[in-house]
Symmetry: C2
Subunit: 353 residues, 2 copies
Amino acid sequence: MQKINETIKNIGLLDAAAMERAQERLDSLTKPQGSLGRLEELAKQLVGITGKERPESKNKVIFTLAADHGIAEEGVSAFPQEVTEQMVYNFLAGGAGINVLARHAGARVVIVDMGVKKKLKVKSEKLKVKKIDLGTKNFLKEKAMTREQAIRGIEAGIEVFEEEFRQGVDVAGTGEMGIANTTSASAITAAFTGAKVEEITGRGTGIDNSSLARKVKVIEQALKLHRPDPKDALDVLSKVGGFEIAGLSGIILAAAARRIPVVVDGFISGAAALIAYHLEPKTKDYMIAAHCSVEKGHRIILEHIGIKPLLDLNLRLGEGTGAALAMTILDASLKIFTEMASFKDAGVSEEKK
Amino acid sequence: MQKINETIKNIGLLDAAAMERAQERLDSLTKPQGSLGRLEELAKQLVGITGKERPESKNKVIFTLAADHGIAEEGVSAFPQEVTEQMVYNFLAGGAGINVLARHAGARVVIVDMGVKKKLKVKSEKLKVKKIDLGTKNFLKEKAMTREQAIRGIEAGIEVFEEEFRQGVDVAGTGEMGIANTTSASAITAAFTGAKVEEITGRGTGIDNSSLARKVKVIEQALKLHRPDPKDALDVLSKVGGFEIAGLSGIILAAAARRIPVVVDGFISGAAALIAYHLEPKTKDYMIAAHCSVEKGHRIILEHIGIKPLLDLNLRLGEGTGAALAMTILDASLKIFTEMASFKDAGVSEEKK
């Protein structure tokens, strides 16, 4: 717990003075004030996060964390559990959606085994192994993990971020893989927001109506059994969470502590953001919501934290794919901020007063 | 008119068979079916447009057309009229928003003088001069242009596209610059959609409440004076249009005729899309709506044509900036389509049946 506490202690406020100077610069550029909308807001936020006059986004890293979920045995996913492991191999071979979109965005992908059910059959420098356990327990029957495991999971995320930070990280992104993890994310969302389970729970990888009804029932029963305490994020995480979700909340905490913007992907990443936010609300200022997922609980998460998604492209793949796309918007915003000519330099008349 | 008619004659249907094969390929890739949402739809549309099994987006061109508007003398803009000319110099020097975002997207920018009020003081191979006149007339008092000028304007757009097409165009984008052109675009939108002027008219570059009220009144009076016929696109264009808008509708027609996708930027580009759509409804299938502008009339245009914007980033700059950003999403969709591994190749289990 010491590592978590120290990390939280290092999370500061945005640099308000630098943001004011950023606003002045934005208003001096050859465009009607504010006419580049979210690009301008984002540039200002990035200045506030980093405290730098001219933030950079050269080193972009997407952290894609994988783990298995005991709840999968309740038939809540359209895919068999072995797909978690198989997709890790796909990530390492470079053929998955996140590989394609990370290359597009110029980001590197760090794959982390946080708790895949099987021991992985490969070694690769792209793969970090931080296995907390061989998948969580079935939280319909018992707690998904012990409180100690929840802490170790978050701390593993902090360690992963710190290892990469030493190699250079200007922008972090979150991503995940774990069959049945929308069930866990829905339960976490219900626990923190109090919204009804049926209003939160979606089709994940694409389950049919009867599976969806079962999924809702499973989550309702689990919440009734465990009564997770929304004032105690570790209680929620340990009772209905997942190891990749634990790790991602650690990534978010660590990024915020290092004043690095963290692009939060979709619904599962959003559940991790809820954990991080409830551990330390200041993390919110360091988050950039990549997109609004098709999973309907995601919008509820974004509203609860109070962050606005950049994209809305009907994505529901996860892996960090939305974060990768959003990083290209983030790059664009910094280029606008640093490369555009001012009214004065370009000899363009300003607004009539 | 012959060039317009010939161009329209060459606009065909999307390639339905190729789109079916594209859907099969998309469904074979290692992701739940449809989970990359708009990226998948876009890839399929691009296959349908080009008729190619593997469409490319190497040569991206943004056409930024500039012209002046006689209606500017009614005080409908926050900026003085000379800014149109000054911004053309800024485009040529590479310091404007569109230059920055086109570089970001890997697109080249073609600047066209369709009718800037002054004779431009520079020559540059980046600048094409297709001046129809030294700005339009004040359409509160008389028709903005003659019907002959409207035709020449559209045909100039077709020529510009064809000149670039010979050098290679895989994806076209539209953009514009013209002080007071949201007034013209609002009038065009009202004429075609029948929506109320006050529901269409926005603040453009950022006018205050009293100027906005004047702008609404100007448009209402002009529509009353001219009674543009929505069944005759050239009538609408000549009475309340602009030369850059005419040229952009030509670009859209020509791109569709060549089976090249055309990324339509914001509100002014949307008005040009209305002209093109009413000249030939099949153009709709070749359009990709880049984003939804802050200018409230834009949403009405998109709904009227029946196209869904990719981005919603509170942009209202124009120039083609939204189109440039959307081109990065288009690139991403094609990379997903061509680079992702299939279930079979990656050895990943498919959905449970």
